[in-house]
C-alpha cells in the first residue's frame, strides 16, 4: 500500500520519531497519547512530530467500521484482523467514541475480547480515550490514523460506536466504510440510522451461522433491496454498495468481504478516485482546522456560559435570535 509523494521526510529530535517510523508499537502508543492530550506542550510536540513525519510515503488502507450494539463487532474485528495478518498485513485498530457520557462503552475498551489479535506482533489495538480527554474528536482521530500510517501499518480499522455524527466524521478519514449488522426478521429490522446508509460501501450481516443462517440471508436480501432504492454514487463501480453475509464466529465470508473491499479500492485507484478522495480529505482537514480555530473563541468557560444563557432566552421566546447573536458577537469583539 506504499506510495511516494514529492515531500521529503522531515527531521526531528523527538525520541519517538525513529522508533515510530520503524513500527515500534510502544512509540506509536505514546505518540497517540500526545495527540489525545489537551495540554499545550503536548499539543506543540504532537504537531511538530506530525509535521516531521510527513513525507514518509506510506499509505494504509483506512477502513471505517460501524455497527449496532450486540452485532458482534469485537468478534468480527478479531476474526477479520487475524485473516489479514494471515495474509501478511500489519493491522491497527482505533476506536472513535465521540460520546463523553459513555463509560467504557466502546468494545475496544476491553482488549481481552480480542484475545488473539491483541497478542499478535503485527497488530496494534488502541481503545478509545478516557472521557476527560475528549474535545476535538475529529482532529485526534485523524492524527492517530496518520501516526499508524507513519508506523507502517497496512490496514487501519477505525471503529466507531455509531452515535450521531461519528460515522460521517469517520467516513471523512476513511478510504472505505463498512457497516456491520445483525440478522433480523421483518419489522425487527430497525436501528439503522438513516444517514449511515448514505456512506456505507459494504453492509456485512454478521452471525450468518447456525440457527440464524437463514435469517441472515433474508436480511442481506432486504438490505440489498434497500440499497438499490438509493442513488448510485459517482465514486462507486457498478454493484456497490453491496450487502453480504459473514460469520465472525466461523470466520466465514471474511475472505469474500476482503476481496470485495479490495476490488472496490482497486477500482477507485484505477479511476483516480483514491487520490482525489485523499486530496479532498486533506483540503477538508485544512479547512476544518481553520474553522475550528475561529470557533475556538466560543470554547472558553465565559463564552460557553454566555452562549447557554442567550440560547435559553431565545428558546423561551424572551429574546430574538438575531439580537442575541449580535450581543454574543459583540462580547467576542467580532460584531
Amino acid at each position: 500500500m506504499a506510495s511516494h509523494r514529492g515531500h521529503p521526510l522531515g527531521m526531528s529530535d523527538d525520541p519517538l520519531f525513529h522508533p515510530l517510523l520503524e513500527g515500534d508499537r510502544r512509540a506509536l502508543a505514546r505518540a497517540i497519547t500526545l495527540v489525545e492530550s489537551t495540554r499545550a506542550d503536548h499539543r506543540s510536540r504532537a504537531t511538530a512530530l506530525l509535521e516531521a513525519l510527513r513525507g514518509h510515503g506510506r499509505q494504509a488502507l483506512r477502513i471505517g467500521l460501524s455497527g449496532t450494539p450486540g452485532v458482534g463487532k469485537s468478534t468480527f474485528i478479531e476474526a477479520f484482523g487475524m485473516m489479514l495478518i494471515g495474509a501478511g498485513k500489519r493491522v491497527a485498530v482505533l476506536a472513535v467514541d465521540p460520546s463523553s457520557a459513555r463509560t467504557g462503552g466502546s468494545i475496544l475498551g476491553d482488549k481481552t475480547r480480542m484475545d488473539l489479535l491483541s497478542r499478535e506482533p503485527a497488530a496494534f489495538i488502541r481503545p478509545s480515550p478516557a472521557a476527560n480527554q475528549l474535545g476535538g474528536v475529529a482532529r485526534r482521530s485523524r492524527e492517530a490514523v496518520a501516526l499508524c500510517e507513519a508506523a507502517g501499518f497496512d490496514i487501519v480499522l477505525i471503529e466507531t460506536v455509531g452515535v450521531g455524527q461519528s460515522e460521517t466524521m469517520v467516513a471523512r478519514i476513511a478510504d472505505l466504510f463498512v457497516l456491520l449488522l445483525a440478522p433480523a426478521g421483518g419489522d425487527e429490522l430497525q436501528g439503522v440510522k438513516r444517514g449511515i446508509m448514505e456512506i456505507a460501501d459494504l453492509i456485512l450481516v454478521n452471525k450468518a451461522d447456525g440457527e440464524l443462517r437463514a435469517t441472515a440471508t433474508r436480511t442481506v436480501a432486504d438490505y440489498a433491496g434497500a440499497l438499490r432504492l438509493l442513488r448510485k454514487r459517482p465514486r462507486d463501480p457498478e454493484g456497490f454498495p453491496k450487502a453480504l453475509p459473514v460469520s465472525a464466529l466461523e470466520s466465514a465470508g471474511l475472505d469474500r468481504a476482503w476481496s470485495e473491499m479490495s476490488d472496490l479500492v482497486n477500482w477507485r485507484r484505477d479511476n483516480g478516485h483514491w487520490d482525489a478522495t485523499r486530496a479532498e480529505q486533506a483540503a477538508h482537514w485544512f479547512e476544518e482546522e481553520v474553522r475550528s480555530g475561529l470557533l475556538a473563541r466560543l470554547d472558553t468557560p465565559e463564552a460557553r456560559a454566555r452562549m447557554a444563557r442567550l440560547a435559553a432566552d431565545v428558546a423561551s421566546g424572551e429574546r430574538a435570535a438575531l439580537a442575541a447573536a449580535r450581543e454574543m458577537l459583540e462580547s467576542l469583539g467580532s460584531a
Copy 2:
C-alpha cells in the same frame, strides 16, 4: 394555528410594518426582497423589521417539500395549495435553491405553471431569488418564513430543489417534511438521496393515476418497506414516517395526505414536541448566527483567495494541513 407568546408586538416606523401585519402580499414581497438583499442598509432595515414583528403571536404550519425532477412538484403544489385554500387556509409558497449555478431551475421560477394558485388572493408565491443574491441561504429562507408567518399565512410550503444539504436546512426551518417521488419499478427506484429518508415525515408517490396507478402502489409498498428498516424517531407517533400514493393531476389522495399531516402535527402538539422543536430551532438559529458571524472573516475576497491557495497546496501534498491552517489563522489575527 395562532398561538400567543409573552413577547409584545414591537413598534416600527417602517412603511412595510402595518401592511405586512395586515397580510398585504405586496408588502410581504418587498420585505422578502429586503431579507434577500446583501446591501448593508437593506440588512439593517430587514433586521429592524423582523425584530419589530416579533410577538405577533402567529404560527404557520411550515411544510418542507422536496422531490426529484420530473415528479410533478409544481402540479402537486398547485393542487395541494388549492385544496388548502378551499378549506379556508391562506397558503404561502417559498422556494429555496442553494445552488447558484442553476439558471431558473426551480419550478417556482415559472409562476405560470401554478396558474390557478397564483391567481388566488389567499395564496402567495415567491420564486427563488436570482443567483447573484445568494449567500446565507439558510438565514434568508428562515427570515422569509418568519415574514410569511407575520403576514398571517396559515401554511408555508418551503420547496427545495433537492441538491446537497438543502433538505437538512429546510428541515431545520420546517415543522414537517414531505418528500414527493415518482412511481418507478424495481431497479429504477433510484434517485433518493439517502440522507433525505432521515428527515422525511411523509413520502408521497405522485402520479398514482392512469397507467401508472399500479406502479405507484408498488412504489408506495417498496418505500413503506424501506422506511420500516429505519429507526423510529422519538418525535414520531406509531406508523410514521408513512408512504402514501397521490395524484396531483386528479387531485386524489391529497385530503388523505393532509389528514395524515394534521394527525402528525396534532400528536406532536399534544405531546409537547411542537413547542420543543420550535424552541430548539430558535436556539439553533441563534447559534448559527453566532458561528456564521465568526466565520464571516473567511468571507472576504482576500481571505477566500488565500484559503483556496492554501487548500490547493494541501491537496497536492505540498503543505501540511496543520501548518497551512496556522498560517491562515495568523493572517486573520486568530492564531
